[in-house]
């Protein structure tokens, strides 16, 4: 049996299959809109993972399928395969190479995580107090001494039961580092806006923090990502990232939305195609 030849052919096949697999992943696993500075950094790592997934998938799948086709039993042959017990070099190879890969990703992950959770105060940062409770969110701006305004316009929330959920919006200024200081008064909740890519649980009895910098004006949806009982699915709120001027009007001056500048009115959600209307 000419293993070398087969190995070369199969390895050559891995390359195009990897490309195809990555292409398929890229189109069917498109990440949501990048709404924060963190999303940009995290997405680089996501893509690296996707490349790795595509490659490893192709490697195992191609070698496997190729092996199954080439080394299938032929009609009338009832003998055994070759007597190969193993190969220590290969075993060491496929222990060490993944180890190096893993260490690489580990170091990358550590560095990026440190960057994301860097607690040092940044210039111009905004502290927002978030309180979770079943099943609504409350936001206030302790440094400004104000609460988040109630949402006067009915948002496009078909799935949302207006009786159960609060309609308080989280209004954030664009391009300013945000620090969320989060508490829960009953059970665990979790703050997740997919476009921001970061997530943090709210834990009763302690304060947790989440840091990000929104970079695009628009409306986003915040959902609770930790099961919190009956109406967990509807524990949502709208996060409205607005320009600094609008933030001033809506939050600092607490102007009703109707009296604020026209540009502060309704903003489309960047990646929700049907909400623009």
């Amino acid at each position: 049996m000419n293993y070398k030849r087969h190995l070369v052919i199969a390895s050559a096949l891995v390359v195009p299959v990897t490309v195809i697999a990555y292409f398929l992943i890229a189109i069917s696993y498109k990440l949501p809109f990048q709404g924060s500075a963190e999303a940009v950094k995290i997405d680089v790592m996501m893509q690296a993972h996707f490349v790795l997934i595509a490659f490893l998938f192709s490697l195992v799948a191609v070698l496997m399928l190729y092996g199954l086709v080439v080394f299938r039993r032929r009609e009338g042959d009832d003998g055994d395969g070759d007597h190969i017990h193993g190969n220590t070099t290969l075993e060491i190879l496929w222990t060490v190479v993944p180890l190096i890969l893993v260490i690489g990703f580990g170091i990358w992950g550590v560095n990026l995580l440190n960057e994301l959770t860097d607690a040092e105060a940044k210039p111009n940062q905004l502290l927002v107090h978030v309180q979770g409770q079943r099943w609504s969110w409350n936001f206030s701006y302790p440094e400004l001494g104000v609460n988040a305004p109630a949402n006067e316009r009915a948002m496009v929330r078909e799935v949302d039961d207006p009786n159960d959920s609060n309609n308080i919006d989280l209004i954030l200024p664009v391009n300013r580092p945000i620090v969320l200081e989060m508490v829960s008064i009953d059970v665990l909740h979790s703050f997740w806006v997919p476009e921001f890519r970061v997530k943090q649980d709210l834990v009763p009895g302690q304060t947790t923090y989440l840091r990000f910098t929104p970079t695009a004006v628009g409306n986003y949806k915040l959902g609770c990502a930790e099961i919190c009982g009956g109406r967990h699915a509807y524990m949502m709120a709208t996060v409205r990232v607005v320009s600094e001027a609008c933030f001033d009007q809506l939050v600092v001056q607490q102007l009703p939305l109707a009296e604020a500048d026209a540009s502060c009115q309704y903003e489309a959600m960047p990646n929700y195609p049907d909400s623009a209307k």
Binding site: M46, M64, F71, R73, D80, L90, E91, T95, S190
Partner: protein, 627 residues
């Protein structure tokens, strides 16, 4: 009349009666004591004591404790074995029996029944999720059903692992039975009332809403449904089954191996069973402690996980995150309890159908232990967003990524086994290959969850749901089905229907792929876990419909298998002694095996997977002369 007599000779009937009687006794006891002590009635306390009594009643009435109780008063009891006197032979499968093969089949059948219950629950809530908006469930019942799906499937998998380990290990190592046959029966018979408690939790006291993880404060907060308590106790008592079974298995492997069977000559599945048992008999205790703490917090107001306590003296309060540590210290390694036996089955079957030795036997064996050991160091990756101390996140991230290495060893060894072989594609082999493909998906989608920056997006999303369903199906369900088809002729003496088996495979595998990949897709787009309803603006309706459709396909395919298994045992298709040409000892003797497995003891004289060496054998009968 005779039917009635037979019915009331069955242990399972008595177990159910005992459970009901125990529950009633517990209920009235608490009520009476509280009334006598002038305390207000407490539904919670009644429920807890009733649940505990019900488990004990079930064990007592089923008869699994009888021998031990006799020992307590000094009566020696010989081990009962063989077909029951004056009753049809099949009745032994419904009563307390001490033969490991009978217990293995009891485990297996129970596992499939519980699997069906869990599957039906899955299909119910999948139908709810097919479209956005409220369909036919209330949010509360949705929460109960998905939570029950989780824990019932886990119970099913544990039973399935018990089935494989119990049936296969003594047979493979040449033992006549497990080391402690009575303990073995106990492990099975305590799993029944605990499964019933969990299911009862769905109907009694408005179900529960915590998911299978049961995180406090949701599971302990005032006004949380009573069903939570039953779920927690069911979970707790199921742990006894795991611990007892694992200890039994370890002792069996340690002292009952056939002559000449050194550690490196054991069938690879036995290695997986050892690794599994090492996890089970240790880690299970911590989750048991956690469940006890939750129970005491609910009933006796012990504030382990209650952060609100304050008496003005600076006394410490409880901590909800502590529960997560205790819980995942078990519940992460237990994932390897689910998958290691399955991966062992893959490694066991591949050489047979490839006609070639297992590639890198020692590496595969050690990788099982490696996975088990690393599995103890990674639990907090379930808590990357939980708010635990930052210093813990990084070591757990690095340890988590290390799991990839022994897992990779297994994949490459499987490929190495196929290469150069002469592969055939009977149903068991198809399921093995399906398992590898599905487990590959599950494995590859893991590291992205292991590096924290990417996990921050994917945590508690449907990506996680897709990821672990792929590992569970690839690591347990597919190999379990492969094992069922593979050993079916050994168990029944009949051959299953190959055509139906292949239909089962070709429905289930694409169905599963679709489901798992779809779940990951909606997850990355922003679908949260454990939600009753989702935002159509995410653009995930179509994928959700597809996921539901594939869930239905998987459900139907499993029904085909059950039909196949039931009808094939009644056909005339008598299986050959060794239909797969395996070297394993159980295939060298006619099916089904006798009561004590082998007519004469065998000794190991070769390597287990030396396919391709003419004239070599793995085992041979011990020469009679020395006996």
């Amino acid at each position: 009349m005779r039917q009635l007599r037979i019915l009331f000779s069955l242990g399972i009937v008595w177990a159910l009666i005992g459970q009901a009687a125990g529950a009633a006794a517990g209920l009235f006891l608490v009520r009476a004591i509280r009334a006598a002590a002038n305390l207000p009635p407490s539904a919670e306390a009644e429920l807890v004591i009733a649940a505990m009594f019900s488990v004990f009643g079930s064990l007592l009435f089923s008869g699994v404790l009888t021998d031990w109780l006799k020992w307590c008063v000094g009566i020696e009891t010989p081990l009962r074995h063989g077909d029951p006197d004056g009753l049809p032979a099949w009745t032994r499968y419904f009563s307390v029996d001490y033969n490991h093969k009978v217990i293995g089949i009891q485990y297996g059948v129970t596992s499939i029944i519980v699997l069906l219950v869990g599957g039906i629950l899955a299909i119910i809530f999948r139908l709810e999720l097919s479209w956005p908006g409220e369909q036919f469930l209330t949010p509360e019942s949705y929460n109960t059903i998905f939570s029950a799906h989780g824990i019932i499937m886990i119970a099913s998998i544990l039973l399935g692992v018990g089935a494989m380990v119990n049936y296969l290990v003594p047979m493979m190592i040449g033992a006549s039975d497990m080391a402690f046959p009575r303990l073995n029966a106990f492990s099975y018979w305590i799993a029944i009332p605990s499964a019933i408690l969990i299911m009862a939790g769905m109907v009694i006291g408005d179900g529960w809403e915590t998911g299978w993880v049961g995180y406090p404060p949701l599971s302990t907060i005032d006004g949380s449904p009573l069903g939570t308590q039953l779920f927690i106790l069911g979970f707790y008592f199921n742990g006894f089954s795991s611990i007892a079974g694992a200890i039994n298995l370890l002792v069996t492997v340690m002292i009952m191996r056939a002559k000449g069977m050194s550690l490196w000559r054991m069938p690879i599945f036995v290695w997986a069973a050892i690794a599994t048992s090492l996890i089970q008999f240790t880690a299970t205790q911590t989750v048991g402690a956690a469940q006890l703490m939750v129970t005491t917090q609910r009933v006796l107001k012990l504030g382990f996980f209650d952060p609100t306590f304050s008496n003005g003296l600076g006394w410490p309060a409880g901590d909800p995150i502590l529960y997560q540590h205790l819980f995942w210290f078990y519940s992460h390694p237990v994932v390897y309890v689910f998958v290691l036996p399955g991966l062992g089955i893959i490694s066991e079957l591949l050489p047979v159908y490839s006609r070639k030795p297992l590639f890198g036997y020692k590496w595969v064996a050690l990788s099982s232990l490696g996975i088990a050991l690393v599995g103890f160091l990674v639990w907090a990756h379930h808590m990357f967003t939980s708010g635990m101390a930052d210093v813990l996140r990084i070591p757990f991230m690095l340890a988590t990524l290390l799991v990839a290495i022994p897992t990779g060893v297994k994949f490459f060894s499987w490929v190495g086994t196929i290469w150069g072989g002469k592969v055939t594609f009977e149903t068991p082999m198809l399921f093995v290959l399906g398992a590898i493909s599905v487990f590959l998906i599950g494995g590859l989608t893991g590291p992205i969850l292991g590096t924290i920056p990417t996990d921050l997006h994917l945590h508690d999303s449907y990506w996680v749901v897709g990821h672990f369903h792929a590992t569970m199906f690839g690591g347990f369900v597919f190999p379990f089905f492969a094992a069922i088809y593979y050993w079916y002729p050994k168990i029944t003496g009949h051959m299953y229907n190959e055509r139906l088996g292949k239909i089962h495979f070709w429905l289930m595998t694409p169905g599963f792929w679709l489901m798992s990949l779809g779940q990951m897709q909606v997850g990355i787009w922003g679908m949260r876990r454990r939600i009753y309803d989702y935002d159509p603006a995410l653009g995930i309706e179509f994928t959700h419909a597809l996921i539901t459709l594939s869930a239905l396909i998987i459900g139907w395919s499993v029904l085909i298998m059950i039909y196949n298994l039931i009808t094939s045992s009644r056909t005339e298709r008598v299986a050959a002694i060794n239909p797969w040409g395996s070297r394993s000892p159980e295939w060298q003797v006619p099916s089904p095996l006798p009561e004590f497995n082998y007519y004469r003891p065998f000794e190991v004289v070769g390597e287990p997977y030396d396919y391709g060496v003419p004239g070599s054998v793995y085992v041979r009968d011990v020469p009679a002369a020395g006996d």
